[in-house]
Every structure is written in C-alpha cells, then in structure tokens.
Amino acid sequence: MRITVNGRQRDVSSEPVKTLLHVLREDLGLTGTKDGCSSGDCGACTVMLDGRVVNSCMVMVAQADGASVVTVEGIATGGQPAEVLHPLQKAFSQCWSFQCGFCTQGMLVSCYDLLQTNDNPSREDILTAIAGNFCRCTGYQAVVTAVQQAAAEIRTSDAGAQNERA
C-alpha cells in the first residue's frame, strides 16, 4: 500500500486490517496523532484523509491506500530547524488553548480543516468544527479565541500579499 503522508509518499506493508492510527504511530513513527479511546468517541486521532477530517482509529489502513493524509506533523512548514509554525499553532500556544495537550493534535487538524474553507469563522462555526474533539481540561473557549486570532492573522497576511502584488 502507498499513502501520501504530509506530502511524502510512504510505502506501508502493514496488515490491511490495522487502523490508519496504528500505522501512523507504530509503522511511520508519527506519534503526534493520539489514541484516546480507540472507538471514535474522542477525536484525539483526527487526521485529514483526502481533504476530509476523520478519526484515524476508525479507518482501516487499506481504506487509505492511495490516499493523501495530513497529520499534526504536517501543519507547520519548513521543517526543523527552520520550521515555521502555522498561525493556529502559534495562537494555540499563546491563548492557553490546551492544558495537557493530548487532544491538541487532533483539535488542530479539525481547526486547520475549518480554516481551509472559512477565513472568518464564528464561535458557532468553530464549536461545530471541534464538536468531535473531546477536551477534558478546558471548556473549549480558549480554542475559539485561538482559531479566531489565527484566522485574523491569515486574513491580514493574505491582504498584505495581495497589496504587494497590486
């Protein structure tokens, strides 16, 4: 099987009935994606599969054959040491949008997906986007703050880029 993970083609020789989560963590060493329940209830294992947000514990790896997957490790650009954090990642850090951080990786992927199609999300939009991401430490408010802050930063930099072109 071949899966494109965070833009890189990876050959996977795992049993096809293993979950995508298992393959990401155990075979590809991408442990940023977490296992909170193994039953699709908590969203800690959220990744993007061909542009759709899924619980990777509920996807058999065979279903991902030939697909493109984005995990939390694929949100920043540039790679270390010249890594550039995505505005969401900066905002999550600044706003105390997480405490223990175990839900954060999945939460970030859900929010990253939201910002692909909505550059000015309302509180409702954000809460709907993270409706499947369980967090036991917060009450999700600091996530709303961070996503709106990140969206504003992206709008500003997009506007700046357009002005430059003009």
Partner: protein, 757 residues
Amino acid sequence: MSAPETGIVGRWTSSPGATDIVTGRARYCPDIQLPGMLTGKLLYSPHPRARIRDINVSEAQQMPGVHAVITHADIPGENSYLYASPDQPILAIDEVRFQGDAVAAVAAVDEDTALAALRAIKVDYEVLEGIFDPLEAMQADADQVVTGEENVMLGMTFRSGDVASAMASADVIIENTYRTQWAEHAFLETEGSVARMEEGGGITVWSSCQAPHRDRMQVARALGLPESSVRVITPYIGGAFGGKDEAHVQMHAALLAFTAQRPVKLIRGRRESMLTHVKRHPIMVECTTAADSSGLILAVKARAIGDAGPYTNASHEVMNKFGEFIGGPYKVQNLEVEKIAVRTNNPICGAFRGFGAPQAAFVYECQMDEIARKLGLDPLEIRLRNGVDTGTQLCTGVVVRDGDAMKASLRKAAQVTNWKNRDQMNKRPAPHLRRGWGMATILKGAGMGRGLADHAGVLLEMHRDGSVLLNSAAADMGQGITTVLVQLAAERLGVKVSDVRINRADTDRAPDAGASCASRQAMVSGNAVLLAADDIRKTLLTLAAMKTKVESDRLGLRDGRLLIDGEPTDLTVQLLAERASNWGYPLQAQGRAHLEYPSDAPRVPYRYSSEIFQFCTQVAQVLVDIETGQVSVERLVAVHDAGKMINPGGVYGQIEGGVAQGIGYALSEELVVEKGHTMNPSLENYVIPMALDLPEIEMHVLEFPQDGAGPMGAKGVAEAPIIPTAPAIRNAILDATGKTLHQLPMNAERVLKALQD
C-alpha cells in the same frame, strides 16, 4: 531583599512545552519507543467478587513471542499499592474484590501476541456473592469485603458546639437526603508506564502520574530494590484530575521489565481505564440544617456514607475533607458531622478534583436555598448574612486568615449578572420552557492541611551565559505548574522566560516535591523556586556591588540587566554570571519550602484542617424543558479568588475547565454500576459535555493576596472551580420549576420525574 517586579509574574505566559505540543513532538508515555521494547497487558477479573482457586499460566508462557507472564507469586517485593494503607494488591492473590483487580500480567513482542497470551491464561474462579450496598456492608453480620478488615474503614463523628440545643431553638429546619454518583476523571491520556532495566540492576520508569517520588517508593517496594536504584520520569502527561495521584500500572510495567529483562510499555485501554482506576465517591448524606427567622444558620448536622469500593486508597482523606467543608463558607457555630467510608465490591474510589468538597457543597448549597425559600429571603442575601469574614473562626476551629474574598466574590457575581433584576428576564420563554437562576458559593482548602507533609524542593542553576536550568519534580499534568515555576525563576533572576529551561519531573534530577494535588504546587514549589532564585540572585548582586561600588540593596535585576535604583545599566546578568563562573562562585541553589501554619493560631480540633482557602461563587442561568426534563445551561458566571495570579492563562484555564467538568457532574456524568459491574465504561456512554454542549463561561478573577500562601500571595486555584457548579445549576432548576432535586446527576430522567411528582 524585595525584588522589583519585571512584569513576568501576572503576564499570560505560554507553556514551556507549547511548541512540542502543537507540533506533535511532545512525547507522552504511549509515544515512547525503546529498542527491544515489549508490550505489556493485564488480565482483570470478570467478577466483582470471586475466590481464585487456581491460575494456570503454562500455556501462555510457552507461546512464541511471549517474554514474561507473571502472577502474585512472581513479585519479589511487597505485593501492594501504598497510597494510604497496603490493602490493595498489585496482582490478586486468592480473591478478587472488584472488576479492576488485576490477576496476571504479560509482556510480549506486540499487542496481538500479548492479548493472545492473556486469553491463554486459565483462572479458576469460585464466584462469590458480592457486597454492593454500603448500608448492608455496615451491618454487624455482613461478610467482610477484605477478610480481617472491618467493612467500615472510617467511622468518625466531629462535634462542635451544641447542635441539639441550637436545633431546639430554630425557626426553620430543613432536612434532606442527598445522593451523589460515581464520577470518572476521563483524562484523555489513559494511564500508562514504560519501564527499562538499567546497567547495574537499576530501573527507569516513565510514568503518567501526579507523584513521581511516591511512584519511586512503590516501584522499589514491589521489586525489592532500594529507592536509589529506581528512577521515575514523567514525560508529558495527558491530564489526571486526581485519578493519577495513586500509582496505577507503574509497578506492573516495572515487574514485567524486571522479569523479561527487556523494556516494557504498558498502556491501559479506555475501557480498562474506566473499569480500574479510582472514581469520585458516591456519597449518601442525611443533612439537617437549622436557622433562625433572619436566616442565620444555627446548626448543621450531617451523616455521610461514602462507598469506598474494596480498598482504602484516599477514602479517609476524601471523607475527612467532606466533613471539614460541610459547614461551607459560613459562620456555623454548631456542627455535628459523621463521616463513614464503607468497603464494598463496587469500583474503588479515591482522589478526584476537590477531595469530597464537591459532594459537601452540593449538600450545603442546596440546603441554603431551601432555607432562603422558606423564609422568603434572596439567595444572595442569606449567603451574605452567613458568610465568613477575615478572622472568622470556623466550626472546625480554624481561623480564616483572609476571608474578604468570600463576600467579594458573591457581590461581584451579583453585580455582573445583575442578580437583583434577574426576574425581569422572561421566565417562560415558551410554553414548555422555564428559565431560572441559581447561585452557589464555596470554600476549599489549598494545600494538604495542618499536620501533613506539605513540602517541596527544587534545584536551580544559572550557567555562565546567563541561561538557567530548573529541576523540579512537581508533575505537570497540564495544569501548568512548569510554566509558573519558570516565570518565578525568570522574575527573580531578571532574565527572560525563554532563558529558563525546566526539565520534566525526574526523581534522579530533582528533590521530592510531593504530589501535584490539593491545589498546592504553585504555592509550595513556587515558594521553593523563589528561595533558590534568591540565593543565586544574592550572589549576582554581591558581584555587581563589588564591580559598581554601589551597595547591593540599591541593586536589582530586570530584562537581563543590572538595575541601580530601579534604572537599567549596561551591566548584564550574563556578564555577572560569567564573572561568577570565572571566579568560582557557585550559581547553583536548592530551594526547599513548606506551607506554614501560624504558631499563634488557636488549637484546631478538626484533624488535618486546611488554613488557606480558595473562595468562589458561580451563578447559573438555566432553561428547563418541562416536557422532556432536559436542562440547558444558558449562562454560567464564575468569580474566583486567586490570591495573586502568576500566569493568568493557567488560572483562567483551570476555572474554565473546572466549570466544564462541574456542568458534566451536575447534568450528565454518571458511571452506572449494577452489582459491581460498570455498565458504561466508554466515552460514548459516559456522557461528558462536548464543545457544542457548553455555554460560554464568563470568568472573573479576584486577587486578594494571602500571607503564608504562595509567591506574592498566590493561592492554589485548581480544585475550586468544579465545586459550586452543580449546586448553582440545581438552585437554578429550583428557581425555574419550584422542584427540589437532591440527587446527582440531574439528567432529564430525574428532572422529569421531579416535575411529575
């Protein structure tokens, strides 16, 4: 020496681990990979109570890929946990006493092989009739849950004043029976541990825990090793809330690594986690409260029976704290509280955010509103009339040193909610909907309590380039203690937060800091960091005084520079550190702090009383659907006293998260246990509010700095926010419907039943 404030303390500060977390690089126990590492798994009892006739592991041992199969007979040291009393075996011997008792452990090359090995273990059980009702367990002729141990593990009555006379002279008496539920921490990272034998026979254990030094003691006891041979490290930890205060699988992982002589990773699955770790105690409380016609509380009498499950764990502490706080933040002169903890074959109960205080607050704040209704008093008024002040002596004997925050939090909550005019809002927005408002106010101790060990040490070092290394063993489970400690070190040493690196808790690197529990670490470890930093600061300023010929009391440090009379100079902290290094002055310090209880305080008859108090008030606005019984929280205002905020991000985070847990505790969270079997051990069926279920939580923080607490008067804030939420919501339901609920959670079924009665 008073340090000039650099503005680091009190400023929103990101966690030192933030970048690791948002990039997915932060490693939690499940993320640790070691060469040759095996997967560990535990076999649990399918029965709440059974005798073990035989355990046959021979087939499992011979399976290819299986490297260790152990039972109680293979434990070289002590076969017991030791939170309080050594009555819970690590691996069951001849009897299982609840569903979470482990019987055997295996380590194999992968998870599938380990699970197959578990299936190959043959345990011959003789199923016994369990003891599931605490009242039955208390009968003299009841079977003993743990042979040789009384079922009533704690039965104490505390009396203050003359309750009988006070009751006789009362104008109002309110008597109710309350019931609370088993509640689950549901930390997102389940319990886990990784263990590796080291050269020389020692062992390293990575542990998702709240108390690394206590883990070290427990692992050493189990393996029969000296504590000096055991090293416990906390990697990133995915939440705890009291549920990782006691050790869980650390000893099993260590025993497997010891037997297999290979590294072992043992992570509980979600179902396994929910079946095995301690829960919040369900408590049945008979409470009588007496007041005079003006609403002054004359006496409180309560009898509380907590279902402990089979083993002691933190039941003494939880029931003791229940009794300590049952009087609430009020001037109650006459109190009688009977605290009982009973062994059963139900789930084991222990520490969970608040240690019995949430159950107590549900009782006293519900009673308060019922008295107010009977007398036609406003809920705010009756609380202000009875509330403590600075100098009030509680019925426990403790004098409240700084009590101004109690009434301040009430007044602030009333002001921001426009409490006095609340009835101007539509109380009946639709024919099937009723709206109501409720408030609750509480106190909760911060710190372990008088007479209990409450100390912490840290090691701090400044290098020749001015960078700082901080080693603390205070476990950070997400509550943010590492951020607070880094801020305090940076503040006192006049450097940037980013100049201070803190290691994850490691018993080989840092002295004991005690457990991260009881809202204590920001105070105790915080004070320890200030002491260590002052030591280094003194050396830096001595060197600066020699160089500048200015007396050191005119000198300060800020933003990496030396200050003279508060003005920055060209002399940098880095240069001072370099001179210290060149001349052989050590810039290393150990700080040790403990919470002090004033020696001039009167004798305190209530054992282990807290003397530093968290105060908070919450107001809930709810909408009740009288056709379905569904309650939705429309608005939740929380006003908390933090003493002094060190990191506002962490303080607001604790409040928001505590209230969210409180809403779940109030309305939906309940572990359903039938004859010792947990019926809903999954995140699907144990109903926790998610993002779309919660209201926007409005938070207000008061700062009444307290002497004798933490740095700059800071107080712990972690436990208080969960405590008033359930009674505030309950009182709002009462306001909306006129119905008095006395049982948690107040789910649609129970509310509908109350409406129909």
